[in-house]
Structures are given as structure tokens and as C-alpha cells.
Amino acid sequence: MTSTVDTPADTPKAATPSGLVAVARAPGWVRYALLALGLAAAAWLPNGLYPAVAVDILCWALFAVAVDLLLGFTGLMSFGHAAFWGTSAYVTGLVAIHAGLPFPLAVLAGALAAAVLAVPIGYLAVKRTGIYFAMVTLAFAQMVYYVANEWRSVTQGENGLQGVPRELFGWDLTDDYYFYYAILPIVLLGLAAAWRIVHSPFGRVLVGIRDNPARARALGYPVHRYKLTAFVLSGFIAGLGGGLFAVGHRFVSLDVLHWTTSGKAVIVVVLGGIGTLWGGVLGAGIVVRLEDWLSFSGFEAIGLVTGGIFVLVVVLFRRGIWGSASALARRLAARRR
């Protein structure tokens, strides 16, 4: 496939050298300072924003990190991750409504369902690479959308699942402010898991496959199986986000499975910086906040703005926020030497 062979520099797989590598090379105190800053920001967030928006940002942060795990670290652009986000949202909603379990268990069930769905879709999709992978995942996500649309007895079709409860040992979580702190540990766990995956030997093999699949195969790595594993893990993390999103909104609609949701997840990652992991978290914060502001100010054509961001970022700002910042930091450090 040409995308892996004859494209010169600047592929999406490599905002080379990736921002994450730059952070890892940074002196220890910089890393700990950034971590502390990030945690402090997460702890403060619902005090500075509408708590409901802060909750959305957390969910989308997980979604973005899941997409970046594939796009940035495995070289696979999934344009159909709404399938996993949305499936988990529906399963979480159904489990929470009918079984009355504490919401973290419902979310876990949703994420597991997303991971199970990721097995067949991933198995078929990893047979193709590059742009075909994007088209195949997009098509399968659309298939899931149609199934949800037709299977009205379960999904309630256009009406959506209403009244998803926020049950947790009888605590009152109706206030979004408290709900935010209830889900924060789960989100941090998910983000830490993504970080751990990327920095494990397994993650290094994924990056090897991204950069040179032929060599990885020659070294004896079962490339398809590695890609599939990454796909399923990514589906699980996206599912965590989608499940929390369902409980957060207490409502699941077909929108969670729509192709625009998949596309939004990709642009959040590109805006934050492909292959930077935490860039996606930043991108999620910006896009969710911006969309909330737009809909609050009564602007109807949100697609005009998200589409505009897409075009501008892709044409002018391919490294994304995190990628640009770490490139800048690197240049400053080089000058000092």
C-alpha cells in the first residue's frame, strides 16, 4: 500500500518525533510538573466550567486517547470508533436501567460489550491498511448505526434510551458537580491504562509496526494479531468513555453511533496532536467547550465550525497543539545548549 511505502515525511502516524517522546526525554522534574499540572487541572475543572461540560470533556478525553492509541501509535486511522463509543453507551444504558447496578459496573459492562464488538470488526479491518482501513471502519460503524436504528425493541430507535440512572450505593449524584468527581477516578484509570499500554513492550512493538510493518513481520511479530489487540483495547477505552457519557447525559440517542461522532473523535486527536496521547485530552477540552459555547449562543451550524476546524488544522496545523508545543520546547532547549 502506497501510504506506507512512498510517502515521505509528515505522515499522520508520526508527528515525528512524537510529542510523547519529547516529554519522555524531558528532565524528570518537567514530567512530574506536567503531571501535577494536569491532575490539578482535572481536579479544578468543574469549578471553572459548567460541571456538565466538564463531564463531557472527561468522556471525550477517553474517546480521543482511544483513537490516538490506534492512529498515533499503531498507524491505523479508525473512522468508525463511534461504533464502540455508541455500543457501550447503549449497553451501559440498558444495564443501568434494567439491572439497577451501580453505574461503574454498568459502564464496565458497556466497555466489555464494545471490546467484544471490536473483535470481529477489527479482525476484518486490519486486513487493510491506510485509507482503506478508514473506509472499512467507517462502513462497519454505519452498519452498527443501521442495526441500532432498526432494532427498536431494544434501542427505542429515534426516541433513544431515556432515564439512565446514576446509581452508586444510594448516593445522590444528580448534581453534575458531584458526578464529575465520581467518574474522575475511572477516567484517570482509563488514561493511565492507555499510558501503560503505550509504554509497555507491547506498545513498542505497535510503534515498530506503525513505522515499518514489513520489518516487524520479518522480526517474527504477528502483525495482524498485534493490530487486532490494539484495536480491541482501543475499543474498550472508547467504550469506557461512551458508557460514562450515557450515564452523564442520562440519555442515549442514535447520535452516539453517527459517523459525525467518529469524525469528531478523529479531529479532536488531530487538533491535540497525533501520537501525543495527552494532546487528545487537550483537544477534547477545546472542542467540547467550543461546541457548548456555540450551542449556548444559539449558533445553529455547529458543523460549519467543526468542519472549519478540520480544514484549518489539516492544512495549517498538522502537528496539533501538543505536538507544536513540544517542538517549540525542544527548539528552546536546543538553543540553550
Binding site: 485509507i131 443501521y146 432498526e150 459517523w259 468542519g307 489539516v314
Partner: protein
């Protein structure tokens, strides 16, 4: 028997739309290595343009059938020069993202101006009514679409295989560097080919206007099915894309007719076929094997 013939005929008609869109996608992909997500949006613009021309300027269908493809083709060429061109040296995924963004913008621009409700477009009087070929009464307009689309595909095939321009395009598609080494200016043909592909999408849109609901979202869902079609046919193969387009139209129509008790299956049959093809021939029915990844 006549029921079967009718389903088959309707399948071929909807397949004609898939084929025209897949043909444009394949030609553009061959020359530019760009998968144009906005293809569906241009199809929608073709239909909407025809509607606006008729209602606001009284321009009839036949004129729109020329004006819209040419106008959109020129718009496409301008777009290629302005932005897409800058990204063709990068990974194709960037242009996929770019055209996705353009899709959102074009859709919302139309939505802002005309709302989301569907607008009716009258069938041109010359083509209203039915024709009887013995089995049942065929709506004249659908017969026209099918004939027109087949004619167009044959014409494109003729241009690609029998003319010098076509030879350059095919050579540039298969071995761009080698073609350049022979002293052929490949870059000169890139913009016109992109415009041509967009023009085909616009043409399909105008053809669809009298038959399908004209609304800002009509292209978006369609383009995803067309993506499945080109994955099935093999995007590198122009013939494969067209054949898969008609084939999927047929399968869908039969599925809707004979599997109507299983709406989930009949609604998703395209994607089921795609899954089977990926299992059986991952490169597509008519595609060549990719370099091992």
C-alpha cells in the same frame, strides 16, 4: 416473474447512482491518491443546485443537467488547486480528513440557507409516464437514468482505453514516476481529472433530484455505502468500482424484496457483503493485492 424483473430493474437503477459515484471516486483516487469524502456533498449540491435553479430561476432539468456538472467540476478544480493539492504529497489520510471537514461545511451551509426538510423536484415532462417492455410498466425516468448511466460509464471506459488522454491517466495511475520519466507532464492532468470526478458526482445528483428527496443530508449516508462499494470492487480498479456499484444495487434491491422480514439484514446487506469480501479477497473483487503490511 414480473416482480423479480421489477426488483432487478430497480436495483440496477440505484446501482447506477453507486456506479457513477464510485467511478468518480476511483478516477480521482487513481490520479491523486485522494479518497474524496466530499463526494457525497457534491452529489447533494448537484441535486440542490438543480432544485434551486428550477425554483428560483426557472431553469429546466435539461439545462441543469449540463450546468450543474460543469459548474461543480469547475468548483472542484478550484478546490483542488486551493487546498487538496497542498496535501497530496502527504499521507492520503490528511486529504480524507480535509474533505470530511469540507463535507460538514457544505452540508451546514445548505442547511443554514434551506433547512433540513426535503424538497420535491418534478420529473421533466418528457420523461414522466411509463414504458412497457412486456414484463411490466417501467417508469420512463428510471429507464432514462439507467440508460444514461450505462452510456456514461461506457464513454468513460472508451476515453480511458482508446484516447491519448486516457492512456496518460491510466499510466499515471499505475506508475506515476515512470510516466514522468517518459517526459509526460502528469501534473497537468491532475486538476482536470479531479474536476471530472466531481462533475460526475454533480451529474448523479441532478439525476437523483426528481427521484429522491432533495435535502442537505442526502449525500452523507450515500457516500458511506459508496465507500463500502469501492472496498468491495477494489478502489484501484475503475472497472471494479463500476461493476460493484451495479452489483450492490442489485443485491440491495433483492435483499429489500426477499428479506423484508429481516429489516436488520436487508438494511445492512451492503456491509455484510463487504465483510465477506474482506474475508475472501481482502484487496477487493477486482483489486490488486497490496504490498504486504
Amino acid at each position: 416473474m414480473s416482480g423479480f424483473a421489477q426488483n432487478t430493474f430497480n436495483g440496477l437503477v440505484s446501482g447506477a447512482f453507486y456506479a457513477l459515484l464510485a467511478l468518480g471516486l476511483a478516477v480521482i483516487f487513481g490520479m491523486l491518491r485522494v479518497v474524496n469524502f466530499a463526494h457525497g456533498a457534491f452529489y447533494m449540491l448537484g441535486a440542490f443546485g438543480a432544485y434551486v435553479l428550477l425554483t428560483e430561476a426557472g431553469v429546466p432539468f435539461w439545462a441543469a443537467l449540463v450546468i450543474m456538472p460543469v459548474g461543480l467540476g469547475l468548483l472542484g478544480m478550484a478546490l483542488e488547486r486551493a487546498v487538496i493539492h497542498r496535501l497530496t504529497r502527504l499521507d492520503p489520510l490528511y486529504n480524507f480528513l480535509l474533505t470530511f471537514g469540507l463535507t460538514l461545511i457544505l452540508q451546514d451551509l445548505v442547511k443554514l440557507r434551506y433547512g433540513v426538510q426535503s424538497s420535491p423536484y418534478a420529473t421533466p415532462s418528457l420523461l414522466s409516464g411509463t414504458v412497457n417492455f412486456g414484463l411490466f410498466d417501467f417508469p420512463t425516468y428510471r429507464v432514462f437514468i439507467l440508460g444514461f448511466a450505462v452510456l456514461l460509464c461506457v464513454a468513460v471506459w472508451w476515453v480511458l482505453t482508446r484516447t491519448r488522454i486516457g492512456m496518460v491517466v491510466r499510466a499515471a495511475t499505475e506508475r506515476p514516476d515512470l510516466t514522468r520519466a517518459f517526459g509526460i507532464d502528469v501534473g497537468r492532468w491532475v486538476t482536470p481529472v479531479f474536476g471530472f470526478g466531481i462533475g460526475l458526482a454533480g451529474l448523479a445528483g441532478v439525476l437523483a433530484a426528481p427521484m429522491r428527496a432533495v435535502n442537505p443530508l442526502m449525500g452523507a449516508d450515500l457516500i458511506i455505502v459508496v465507500f463500502a462499494v469501492v472496498v468491495i470492487g477494489g478502489l484501484g480498479s475503475i472497472f471494479g468500482s463500476v461493476a460493484a456499484g451495479f452489483g450492490i444495487g442489485l443485491v440491495q434491491a433483492w435483499g429489500e424484496a426477499y428479506l423484508s422480514n429481516f429489516p436488520i439484514v436487508s438494511q445492512t446487506i451492503v456491509f455484510i457483503v463487504m465483510a465477506v469480501v474482506l474475508l475472501w479477497r481482502p484487496a477487493g473483487l477486482f483489486g490488486r493485492e497490496e504490498a504486504p503490511a
